[in-house]
Symmetry: C2
């Protein structure tokens, strides 16, 4: 059911923001399937990361990197039966440096869990 897909993804997105703000990731990680995969565009987690252990490592690294604060503004949400995409703008400090980005996060939902997370950069900050 599409409404369930959206509800599950919205819950995960709220927990993602909570994790980034607090460094507490247990509630978010509880929403992931054991075979969860994560695609990230850059840095030491660039590419495909498989499994919950890798996810735990990634998300702790993310909140650690943004420990000085990250503002996350949700612009729009699109969905189909199994996938929900969140388009967000974010800004703050990344390990002490001014940071600004546009991001699309695509979540695949299976049952009441998230089985895949794909992140895309719109790169609001410096060019590369």
């Amino acid at each position: 059911m599409k409404s369930d897909t959206l509800a599950v993804a919205n819950r995960a997105f709220e927990q993602l923001k909570h994790g980034l703000a607090t460094g507490e990731w247990d509630s978010f990680l509880d929403l992931l399937t054991d075979d969860f995969t994560l695609w990230f565009p850059a840095g030491r987690f660039h590419g495909l990361n498989q499994g919950k252990d890798k996810a735990r490592e990634f998300f702790h690294y993310a909140s650690e990197s943004f420990r000085e604060g990250l503002e996350v503004i949700l612009d729009r949400v699109t969905s189909n039966e199994t996938t929900v995409v969140f388009e967000v703008r974010s800004q703050g400090k990344l390990r002490g440096e001014a940071y600004k980005n546009r991001i699309a996060i695509s979540l695949d939902v299976r049952g009441d869990k998230i089985c895949a997370y794909r992140e895309y950069f719109g790169s609001d900050g410096k060019s590369y």
Copy 2:
């Protein structure tokens, strides 16, 4: 109506692929509103590009850059009442160099036209 939104965006996506494959952009450009905006993550069009003239310049530049061929694989489509997101993988040659990317393209639909295009990179190729 959501079905119309999807139909308009699908038509634009087909014309986008046609333009990339052929360098013929007139049918695609006809689908854009006069106040069309384009967000691109990198390079000389990095950031916000406004208006159809800028769009014409950008898309011709894109097909010119990929004139040696670009394969575009559509993985999934999500939507809401006004926006449709296409997640694609692409590979080919970018000005002679091997190129591979994962991309999310978000299109805003107004009536039977596209009023905004936002591109996000998942960066399947080299890290940056």
